[in-house]
């Protein structure tokens, strides 16, 4: 090879290096991972936060004993919150409303949307149980006045009442209201409102941190090639593709 071509070749290499991203080998990356300081008690807190927020009251109690981690909320309030949630999930909406008010009457007073959704759920349950007359009466007396205050409430009310127009609700366009997912949606709305009223975050921190991991890896992708964790459920490091 002539000297000329060697120089050209080297220049091309330098150019390629400048344009390409920094490459971090597995060995270097593992060293960086090792240098990170994570305290066990912080991980325990993160797990406790998950148990508490998701309502695993027995597990939280056991975890307090087994790991010495203090929950960031009075565990007794979890039981009440879960009872409300469960009542909605089982379709006992009246029972749920009563329980929420026992817990803290301000929750529904200050949250008209949540109250409307609970009443709507109550209407759905009446229709599900074939209590047509009762359902109509309830819609007119309890829900219609609220619809006048708020356009979106009115639309939802109309959508719900439309259930009555179909003999076979399983095939009708608004049939999804009768689905279990509607109950779960309402239940998680109540759950969130109760947590908020207790000055607690309505979502556990763990999922946010996992999302942050996805985001942080994407961000770093722009600047470097490094071992990634692509499958969160196995936490397996995968070698960089160069």
């Amino acid at each position: 090879m002539s000297l000329f071509w060697i120089v050209v070749h080297q220049l091309a290499e330098i150019e390629a290096m400048a344009a390409s991203k920094k490459v971090i080998t597995r060995e270097d990356w593992e060293k960086k991972l090792k240098d990170v300081k994570i305290k066990k008690e912080d991980m325990n807190k993160l797990v406790m936060n998950f148990l508490v927020t998701e309502g695993y009251v027995d597990a939280a109690e056991k975890f307090r004993k087994e790991s010495g981690t203090e929950p960031d909320i009075d565990l007794a309030t979890i039981t009440d919150r879960m009872a409300v949630k469960k009542a909605v999930q089982c379709g006992n909406v009246e029972d749920a409303i009563e329980k929420v008010n026992d817990l803290n009457p301000e929750i529904l007073d200050t949250n008209p949307q949540l109250f409307f959704h609970l009443q709507q759920q109550r209407l759905i349950e009446l229709i599900r149980n074939g209590k047509v007359e009762e359902a109509l009466e309830f819609a007119q007396e309890e829900l219609a006045p609220r619809g006048e205050e708020n356009q979106s409430f009115l639309e939802e009310l109309e959508r719900t009442v439309a259930l009555l127009a179909f003999e076979d609700v399983s095939n009708c366009p608004v049939g999804e209201l009768l689905d279990i997912s509607q109950r779960l949606k309402t239940a998680s709305e109540v759950n969130a409102a109760i947590l908020t009223s207790q000055s607690h975050e309505k979502d556990p921190k763990l999922p946010s941190l996992l999302k942050m991991l996805i985001w942080a890896q994407n961000q770093l992708d722009e600047k470097a090639a490094y071992p990634r964790i692509n499958d969160l459920s196995t936490a397996m490091l995968e070698d960089p593709t160069v």
Partner: protein
């Protein structure tokens, strides 16, 4: 009892327990933390390179006054802070109070590079930017300003800041943000103030006094912005499985049973395990033994724990100079100190700990342990961390990891050390740190500890 007789496991690599030695000292104040507050921030005005003769800096180096009569554009009284704005954080911010706007009110606040010409208004020259009081304009790198905010004069408090997340400068007047501009300058940036007409006088506040501007709230809002963006990512349903694997990994058996029980009755039931790729068999390994030992250690019953280990896993404790034995002996010593059995502690220390003196990896912890004896109230001493619950937890975690390492089906020795959760958190932290490193070291790092203790009331 799963009594493993056949497993020395062929692992010739270094003692896994050594990893926990480092963990055991994380609580010590003598170990540097990796929080970034080691960066020095400006504290006063730099009187060495300030434009001599045009302004006078007060003895406390926190105010400047223009004493001359200004004649042209090259006799500005400029003064920089003694240090550049720190970069390893979300926001840097400082304020000035206009004590006297002088005859023309030609005051400026901004940021300049180290080599800035100290007779020119910040913003008039390259690599500088400044918000000027007399016209309310923002100057960036040349003599023509751009429309920005209101003018300011005597009695006003004006602030300048760098938002490293958005890569912007921002300025405030009397506690409210006036506006932002892109930060297009690189390298260290010095907080800078300028005065340019007779009797103009400003006081500068580098944070020694409370700011008029609510910086904490600004930072919270900024973090919230990032949070909102992150929340948009969709996440496969892995949280439940990750928590479960954590409980399995550390042998929190009672918690695990309650968790599984509750998971079955939730609506809808949570489906976990196998289909999520969790390899159950490997972690269920010796669950009950691990739980029992953890309980003993957490109760401070180190002798019983050692007894059980000798019975169930003799291979773990056969080498009395291993990190695991060392940590157990240290803990026994600590427990004796806790109950005030100092004489017995001394005897125990001579018998079991003295041999670790002079061995580099063990020395720090031995010294800390022995130091407990020096204090009447060891809890309040610099080695008080040893008496905390978390110290027992580390010892329990060590034993747990060692038992996991005796699993004949073990594929990767690292998996004994770290739960999935920990690996994910390490990856998250490392990614954030590396990104910052590749962005000129600017911005805030990720700290699990801060996330856990932040904004309980925030509605993200």
């Amino acid at each position: 009892m799963s009594n493993n007789t056949n497993s020395t496991n062929g692992h010739s690599d270094r003692d896994l327990g050594l990893w926990f030695l480092e963990q055991s000292r994380l609580g010590s104040a003598r170990v540097p933390t990796d929080m970034d507050e080691d960066e020095e921030a400006p504290t006063e005005l730099n009187t060495i390179n300030s434009s001599g003769g045009f302004l006078v800096v007060s003895p406390d180096k926190l105010s400047a006054k223009y004493t001359n009569v200004n004649l042209h554009g090259h006799d500005v009284g400029v003064v920089q802070a003694n240090k550049p704005a720190p970069v390893k954080r979300l926001v840097y911010y400082f304020e000035i109070y206009v004590k006297d706007a002088g005859t023309k009110g030609q005051i400026a606040i901004g940021f300049t590079s180290e080599s800035f010409k100290m007779r020119r208004q910040p913003g008039w020259e390259a690599n500088s930017c400044g918000y000027h009081g007399d016209d309310g304009l923002l100057y960036r790198g040349h003599g023509k300003g751009e429309a920005f905010g209101p003018t300011y004069t005597s009695g006003d408090i004006v602030g300048g800041g760098i938002n490293y997340a958005s890569q912007e400068f921002f300025f405030t007047k009397n506690g409210a943000v006036v506006g932002t501009v892109p930060k297009d300058m690189k390298g260290p940036l010095f907080p800078t103030i300028a005065v340019h007409s007779q009797n103009e006088e400003v006081n500068v506040n580098f944070g020694q006094q409370p700011f008029a501007f609510d910086l904490k709230e600004f930072e919270a809002q900024e973090r919230m912005k990032q949070q909102r963006m992150i929340e948009k990512f969709s996440l496969p349903t892995v949280s439940h499985g990750i928590v479960r694997s954590y409980l399995l990994h550390y042998g929190y058996e009672d918690t695990l049973n309650s968790f599984d029980m509750a998971s079955k009755t939730t609506v809808p039931p949570v489906h976990i395990a196998q289909e999520n790729g969790f390899d159950e068999q490997d972690v269920v390994f010796a669950l009950t033994e691990r739980k029992t030992l953890r309980q003993l250690i957490r109760n401070g019953e180190i002798d019983s724990a050692l007894g059980k280990l000798r019975e169930w896993y003799p291979q773990i404790v056969q080498d009395d100079k291993s990190a695991t034995c060392f940590l157990l002996h240290c803990q026994k010593f600590i427990e004796l100190v806790r109950v005030g059995a100092l004489e017995e502690a001394v005897k125990y220390g001579r018998m079991e700990l003295a041999k670790f003196f002079g061995l580099p990896v063990f020395e720090d912890l031995v010294q800390d342990c022995v130091a407990l004896l020096a204090y009447e109230r060891p809890q309040e001493s610099s080695v008080g961390y040893l008496l905390e619950e978390s110290q027992r937890e580390v010892v329990a975690d060590t034993v747990n990891a060692m038992i996991l390492s005796t699993n004949p089906n073990l594929k990767d020795s690292q998996s004994c050390l770290h739960s999935y959760l920990e690996r994910l958190l390490r990856q998250l932290t490392a990614c954030c740190l590396e990104r910052r490193l590749l962005s000129g070291d600017q911005g805030e790092a990720f700290h699990l500890h801060r996330v856990l203790n932040s904004c309980k009331k925030a509605r993200c």
